[in-house]
């Protein structure tokens, strides 16, 4: 797979994840660029990965961590982030769902439901053991199940 195809097929996922984590649109744009440049440099490793999307999101996450180390900023709640980006009213309930959670559960739930990443892929992406992702996902789900059934909507 060449860079153009990789970009065409997965730029939405990378952009979506970075926009979910940061409200700074210029920083998001720069990080998307850095992610794909890094991917291009490591393109020979692509044949050994199961999911190019998960591989790119791992690179994007690492770029984000580096960026925040260089320039610590407040990580907004999803609602703030989307409101800043002009999020639609239809997304308000989805934002409310994620606001029920702290990190890293929020990112895990985002990865599971928005991008369809597996526990293993999320573990690689976030640099934590698969078992930890699984237990945090179970905790988050139980919380969200109760919340959904509690008629909070």
């Amino acid at each position: 797979m060449d860079l153009e195809r990789l970009y065409r097929e997965h730029v939405d996922a990378v952009y979506g994840y970075l926009s979910f984590k940061l409200r700074d649109s210029q920083a998001v744009e720069d990080l998307v660029q850095e992610t794909f440049l890094a991917a291009h440099q490591g393109l020979n490793r692509l044949h050994s990965v199961n999911s190019p999307k998960a591989w790119l999101l791992t690179i994007a996450h690492n770029k984000l961590v580096d960026f925040l180390r260089r320039r610590p900023v407040h990580l907004p709640l999803q609602a703030e982030s989307l409101a800043a980006a002009g999020g639609e009213a239809a997304n308000l309930f989805a934002q409310e769902i994620l606001e029920q959670l702290a990190e890293p559960e929020r990112t895990i739930v985002y990865g599971l439901y928005v991008e369809g990443l597996t526990y293993r892929e999320l573990g690689e992406m976030l640099g934590i053991p698969e078992g930890t992702v699984k237990s945090k996902a179970h905790y988050a789900r139980k919380y969200l199940y109760n919340w959904l059934q509690g008629g909070s909507r």
Partner: protein, 111 residues
């Protein structure tokens, strides 16, 4: 309601995101038809999927094109530098290596 078991959560999620093996898929479908706790987990997973996929944020077309142009530009610059370095290294006398270093500093680093 009884709290859905954790295996049911994973199985229901796997069914919705198509990550199950054929055996797991058969089990999930069997449970959906016969096990109320699994059906409940499936309904809750479906509700979460339906709501949360609304958070997908596609990159605006203008940004998509601009970022790709920047990526290509950066890659082109890197290629140009590598080619220029090779050409200069093979064509210039060794003693002029320091000239190249100054050239690189002034042209590339401060650009």
């Amino acid at each position: 309601m009884t709290k859905p078991q954790e295996e049911y959560m994973d199985l229901a999620w796997g069914l919705l995101y198509d990550t199950l093996s054929p055996e797991e898929r058969a089990l999930a479908l069997r449970l959906a038809a016969s096990e109320p706790a699994f059906l409940e987990a499936l309904q809750l997973e479906l509700a979460l999927k339906k709501e949360l996929t609304k958070l997908k944020t596609p990159i605006p077309e203008g940004v998509k094109l601009r970022v790709y142009a920047k990526i290509r530009g950066t890659m082109g610059q890197a290629l140009y530098r590598a080619v220029l370095r090779t050409v200069l290294e093979t064509t210039m006398p060794k003693m002029l290596g320091w000239v190249m270093q100054i050239f690189e500093r002034s042209v590339f680093v401060s650009e």
